[in-house]
Structure formats: C-alpha cells, structure tokens
Symmetry: C2
Subunit: 261 residues, 2 copies
C-alpha cells in the first residue's frame, strides 16, 4: 500500500526530534531535511539520517508531505513567525500547546505527541510508545493515524484538553519521579552508601505499578500513618530543609489520598 | 558444606515475612515454625511453607538457629516484652530500628534488612535484592552473610546509621514515587484518559535511572524553568489544592537541585 506521508521535514534536532526521526527513517519514511537553529545539532542528526540540513527557515524544503515541529514551546512560535509562505501539513509534538497555534501559518495541521521521556543517548523502542494524535482535518488525521501506526502499536486520538492533562500527569509520573530518585541518590551519597543498592527497588516499584493499581499498592510509613518513623525521618532531614518540607508534603498527600479526602 | 543456620522461626506473616520465608524455604532452609498474632495470616503462611504455626509467644520453638522478626516496628517491641526466656540468635528486618533493641532479650543479635518493596500477591526474585546485614557478633555476622548469600547475590554489611538513611532514601524512591504514579492515574481519570497510556513512561523513567545518573537525566518544565508551562499546570490543578501545592514544591526542589543550591 502506498504510504500517504512519504517525505517529512524535521524541524528540531533535540532529544525527541532525534528519536522520532530515527524511528520514522527506520520504517522507510524519508526525512527530506533537518532544520535546527544550531548548525551543530542539525548536522549531527542529519548525519545519522544521511540527509541535508539547514539552519535557515527560508531554506526549508517546500515539497514535504509533512512538517514535524519537534522543538521547545518557545522556539515553535519563533520559527512560525519567520515563515514567509504558508506551510504544508504541519504537526507539533508538544504536550501543552493547542493544535491551532498553526492556524495562521499552515492550512492543515495537527498534533503528533509521543508520550515518553527521550534522551539523545538512550535509544527507545518506539513500538510501545503511545502516540497521541489530533487534527480537525479528516484527511490529515487519517494520514497521521497511518504514519503513527507504522512506528507504534499504541496510537490514540486525544483532544487538546486530554493531551494537556496527559502532559501534566507525565510531569508527576516521570519528571517528579526522577527527582525522587535523585533525592534518594543524594541521601545515600551523604552516608557513603552506593546508589546501586536502590536500583532493584526503583525497577520493582515501577513494575509493580504496571501490574497493580498504584493507589492500592501504596506502602510506607505515610499510608499507615506511622508517626514515629515519619518524625524520625523528618528529623534526619534537618540539614536539608527543602527535602524535609517535601517529605512532609508528600506524606500528607499520601495520607489524604488514602483517607479518601 | 554444612549450613550454619539451618532452622529458622519466622516471627511475622506479612508481606516481607511471606516473601523472605518462601525464598529461604526454596533454598533448603527449614522454617521450623511461623508465629503471628493473627491465626489467619499465620496459618496462610505456614500452609505455603508446610510447617506448624502459633499465635502464642510462649509456644514459640526454643531450638531454632535463628529467630527472624519480620513484623512492624510497633509489634516488634510488644512481642519482645512478652518473651519470658532469653531468645537465641535474633535478627529484625526493619529499616529504622537499631540492632540493640534486642539487647536485653537476645544474647546474639543483628539486622537482616532486604531493601525492596514487598506485596503478598507479587512474587519477587530475591537473588537481585540487596540484603543489608549488621551484627556486632562475629560468629552471627559470618553466619548471616552465609545465609543471605544463599538467597541473594547482593549482600552488604551496613551499619545502623546507613541503614536508616537507606530506609529514608527508599521512602522517596519507592513510596513517594508510587504516589506520583497514583496522582498521574487520578489526573487522567478526571479527563477519561486510560492509565495504560502512562505505563511505558513509568517503565522507561525507571530504566533510565538504572543506566544514567538521575540528576543529569532530569527533564521537564521545572529543570529548564519553563514558567509558562508550570503556571499553566498549576492553573490546571486549581481544583486539587494538595496536588497543586505538591506541584509547586517538587518543581522548586528540582530547580534548586539543578542550580546547585
């Protein structure tokens, strides 16, 4: 079957742009060109994809089937403002930006939001990553579903409000969780205990949340309101007032959630 | 080689007692008897181990090589107070209780602290679980190392201060992390988005922290101080004041950690 979207220009060369364009490239989608404001990252990604790159918005190829804007929220508006001609089919990959940011710039537009944490140095398997799509245009929406289905088994039509909530939930689930790991690591370093010891716990906690409902799987001093332990932990954090405050707050939040408040 | 600790009495029948005694049993250590205050849980575990149980401290077998106290911190002292004769070799499994709680009760004592989150319904592979040991008694310490080495590849001598810090780090890394998952789930439910969508992110965030340093792997609006997104997220949480406060606090903590404060 002929692919509806065959040639893509990738706007951006960061973590997500890198992983997404590599996944598309591996599935036979041609990345026509990479644009990035910085020559170094544009060149690096273009090298991996064996395609041309540019750092000038005016030199972006005009004949792509799709323009994927995988840039920071701030950069997105800046790049759009530099565009002199109407853009073809366009999507962005942002969690919290409405699709209609493209309204005065592109005729057909939408959102292609892969819900995952990306690093340049860590290759991810796109096939499990939920891709959340949105477009008011029937033809583009259909084409995006086909495109996403080539790289992922998990394709979802999600409206802007739901996507924004997904982004918020992802901040708790990924960014805040990672900060908890960081605090754990820092606490152990203070007493010369190897961070390695925490790793089986990190993995099991995550795996448990894939199998059991996390609310009912909650363990620890806060959920059983073990004041003695909690007081002793807060005391142990007296030299780290930020962590101490955080300890109290998260414990209170756990307790309240389980009291059904 | 003759095992130095061959016969164990398990005091407790909760999540940890269950998983630990099953692992010991599988490695040829005899669980002589299970004690629990509630007949139901004692019977359930004894059934799995095919051994007798008791709910009376006075009826606990006297000839075990080791008494493992895998009970809540509060229950530990209560059970010790009921003991009428000196106890043989004794260990507890608690993160934040010093070894010398046994001082007036047992001649030789120590700590056998497996650093993991346990549920009765989820079987864990003990071989990867760090077992943190402590004992002032050379003979018992050696025997505990041998015992732990039979069920785990990760055996560590850890003093009480380090163990307490490990417990604190584990609260952040496991209990607080699980609460972040719970919040993510609740936020999605509000907008009728399936919790399934978060699962690949939960797993990847954990796996990333096993490979990369979590501090340098931190992503999200807080670490790049993206005020626009953070304000929009806080606004979105206006009907959940506890989560809103938590959002602000964790974001501040992330930002401060990365500013090196």
């Amino acid at each position: 079957m002929r692919k509806m979207i065959q040639k893509i220009v990738m706007i951006g060369a960061g973590n997500l742009a890198t992983q997404l364009s590599l996944a598309l490239h591996e599935h036979g989608i041609e990345i026509l060109q990479v644009y990035s404001r910085t020559a170094e990252s544009a060149k690096e990604l273009a090298g991996k994809l064996d395609c041309p790159f540019t750092t000038s918005v005016r030199k972006i190829e005009k004949n792509a089937d799709l323009y994927v804007f995988a840039v920071s929220d701030r950069a997105l508006q800046e790049i759009l403002d530099k565009w002199s001609v109407p853009i073809g089919n366009s999507v962005h990959t942002a969690g919290s930006i409405p699709a209609d940011i493209f309204e005065n710039y592109a005729e057909n537009y939408g959102v292609f939001y892969p819900l995952q944490t990306f690093s340049k140095e860590r290759k991810v398997d796109f096939s499990d990553i939920p891709v959340c799509l949105e477009s008011d245009n029937f033809k583009l929406r259909t084409d995006l579903i086909e495109l996403a289905g080539q790289i992922s088994k998990s394709v979802h039509l999600i409206n802007s409000e739901q996507r924004k909530q997904l982004h918020l939930a992802a901040v708790f689930t990924c960014n805040f969780t990672n900060h908890m790991y960081s605090i754990g690591q820092k606490l152990l370093a203070e007493k010369n205990v190897d961070y390695e010891l925490l790793k089986p716990l990190i993995l099991e906690t995550a795996q448990k949340a894939l199998q059991l409902d996390p609310v009912s799987a909650q363990t620890g001093p806060a959920v059983r309101f073990d004041e003695e332990i909690m007081n002793s932990h807060e005391k142990a954090l007296k030299d780290s007032p930020v962590f101490q405050k955080l300890y109290r707050f998260v414990s209170e939040s756990i307790y309240k959630m389980h009291k059904g408040k």
